[in-house]
């Protein structure tokens, strides 16, 4: 059975906050749920499927959150793949809806690392000693920034990618962020600004990194019959894919590609479209290198050509061939809960609906893509791809 088109995203809402010291984590989730349900024209009484990531939801999986919001569920899924969880939840919701397990699926994300003073990128995170790799990794000081920096270094070594090419990713994001009143960084920056910003973890500069923000977002996904009874533009889920990537057992280590290679292939196969059919792409942008590698892995250019592909404004709406992250993305707008997949899907939905900011709205928004990477390019991660069609 093909799952293509068996569900629609009918609600998408992003929390406007970027710093929320006075809003609890569960309240943030619930406010996002309310926003997305109102966007769809539905209520919490209609929800019978709930999807969240265990890692950003207080309590055991999503149980406490479901209770907080008064949900009565027939389908429950708290799969956590880090920042790509919400892209992945779209695929899981599609499966649940297509097989009749639920009719209206709610997906929520929230987080407050900024209010909590989390050193997101530069502090190694201690886990549980039962996590078998920890004793062999943690003493060496793996943090988010240096893990992605090692992927960038190897990409530069193998393909000649330059810091200036990586900088173009930030430049493009900043061109979009200037039109987003909620974006944390609204100033347009240049390649020189990026490469002259302080080095965080060589070769990644401060402006190669995403922002740290509070916030959240939510999606409502439903079956075709319900979607067509609502008043919102019809955004159909036509392709989804997920895959993991790891060091495996240490042989043939290759940090120059991501799980997007496999998750993208699955999504494109389901959708029956090619990368050249995609007119807008939300691409996870934890760091500039993340975007370059994922664009290659998704097939927008050849492996190794990502640096050239992103140069000279090719990702800027109205200028380049592949407008990306027209809300400013994680690099400029927000990265709620250190998890950027939700906002990737939300901006893709805005584009497909034709509801992005007029300055960045793409003209042909018939087929759009949202891709996420959760975890680390330098160790282990899960990629998830969603392809949407405006009906």
């Amino acid at each position: 059975m093909s799952l293509k088109g068996k569900a629609y995203i009918v609600g998408a809402w992003e929390h406007p906050t970027r710093k929320a010291p006075d809003i609890s984590l569960m309240q943030l989730h619930a406010e996002c749920a309310k926003g997305a349900l109102e966007d769809a024209g539905l209520t919490s009484k209609d929800v019978d499927g709930y999807f969240c990531a265990a890692g950003d939801t207080p309590g055991l999986g999503g149980m406490s959150m479901a209770e907080y919001m008064g949900l009565r569920l027939k389908h429950y899924d708290s799969t956590d793949s880090g920042g790509s969880s919400y892209n992945l939840h779209v695929g899981h919701a599609l499966m649940a809806i297509a097989t009749g397990r639920c009719n209206v699926a709610l997906v929520t994300l929230a987080g407050r690392p900024r209010s909590e003073g989390v050193q997101t990128g530069t502090a190694p995170r201690m886990g549980n000693v039962q996590q078998a790799e920890l004793q062999f990794e943690f003493p060496y000081g793996p943090a988010t920034a240096n893990m992605y920096a090692m992927a960038a270094r190897r990409h530069m070594h193998e393909f000649g990618t330059t810091s200036e090419q990586l900088a173009w990713v930030k430049v493009a994001a900043s061109h979009h962020a200037q039109y987003n009143p909620h974006a944390m960084l609204q100033k347009v920056v240049t390649v020189e600004d990026v490469v002259n910003s302080p080095m965080v973890s060589d070769p990644l500069h401060r402006l190669d990194c995403c922002v740290i923000s509070d916030g959240g977002g939510a999606l409502v996904i439903t079956k075709p019959e319900i979607a067509k009874s609502l008043k919102r533009p019809l955004v159909k889920v036509i392709g989804t894919g997920e895959a993991n990537k790891a060091q495996w057992g240490g042989r043939n280590l290759d940090l120059t590609y991501s799980a997007g290679r496999e998750s993208g292939q699955s999504a494109f196969e389901m959708a029956g479209v090619k990368p050249s059919d995609i007119k807008y792409a939300s691409i996870y942008d934890s760091f500039t290198i993340t975007v370059v590698m994922q664009l290659e892995d998704l097939g927008f250019c050849k492996k190794g050509d990502g640096g050239k592909f992103v140069s000279d404004g090719n990702l800027i709406s109205g200028v380049g061939k592949l407008p990306f992250n027209t809300d400013g993305g994680g690099l400029c707008s927000n990265h709620p809960g250190n998890r950027g997949g939700m906002t990737k899907v939300i901006e893709a939905v805005r584009q497909a609906r034709g509801e992005a900011h007029p300055k960045v709205q793409v003209k042909d928004h018939s087929i759009v893509l949202a891709h996420g990477t959760g975890g680390s390019l330098g160790t282990r991660h899960v990629g998830s791809t969603v392809i949407l069609e405006r009906e």
């Binding site: 201690m126 000693v129 003493p139 060496y140 000081g141 270094r153 990644l204 940090l255």
Partner: protein, 128 residues
């Protein structure tokens, strides 16, 4: 400049020999006795075949830098890296006792052992 502190996380059942050997200045690798192939990080079950027929062997302690990053945001700055050992597996490590400008991808390195916070020793590498 203050010295970097290497924090020992602890062992899990079966990994004690790795850390005991490090105290003696030896780097051990875990091998699958069925096919004679190593893996890293060391496990009690081979990640390629799920075989439990495994043994420890001492590594030569030499390899090349696969990739690295100098963490300037930390004080003191430190160099994290993956080193591909001559035995064919790559391990996360730190490059130590080496001027930053001598660190390159492909550079030959050899193992050195650094004191950890609790008396254990940590395999790191310096330019050979």
């Amino acid at each position: 400049m203050s010295e970097r502190v290497y924090q020992f996380v602890g062992t899990t059942p079966g990994t004690e020999p790795y850390w005991d050997a490090a105290k003696e200045g030896k780097l051990l690798l875990r091998y699958n006795k069925d096919d004679g192939q190593p893996h890293y990080y060391p496990r009690q079950i081979c990640p390629y075949t799920l075989s439990t027929n495994l043994e420890w062997r001492e590594a030569k302690g030499t390899g090349v830098i696969y990739t690295y990053s100098i963490m300037h945001a930390a004080k003191p700055a430190y160099v994290i890296a993956y080193v591909t050992l001559d035995e064919g597996v790559s391990m996360m490590t730190n490059i130590v006792d080496t001027p930053f400008d001598q660190i390159k991808v492909g550079q030959k390195v050899k193992v050195v052992f650094k004191d950890m916070d609790d008396g254990h020793k940590l395999p790191c590498f310096k330019v050979a």
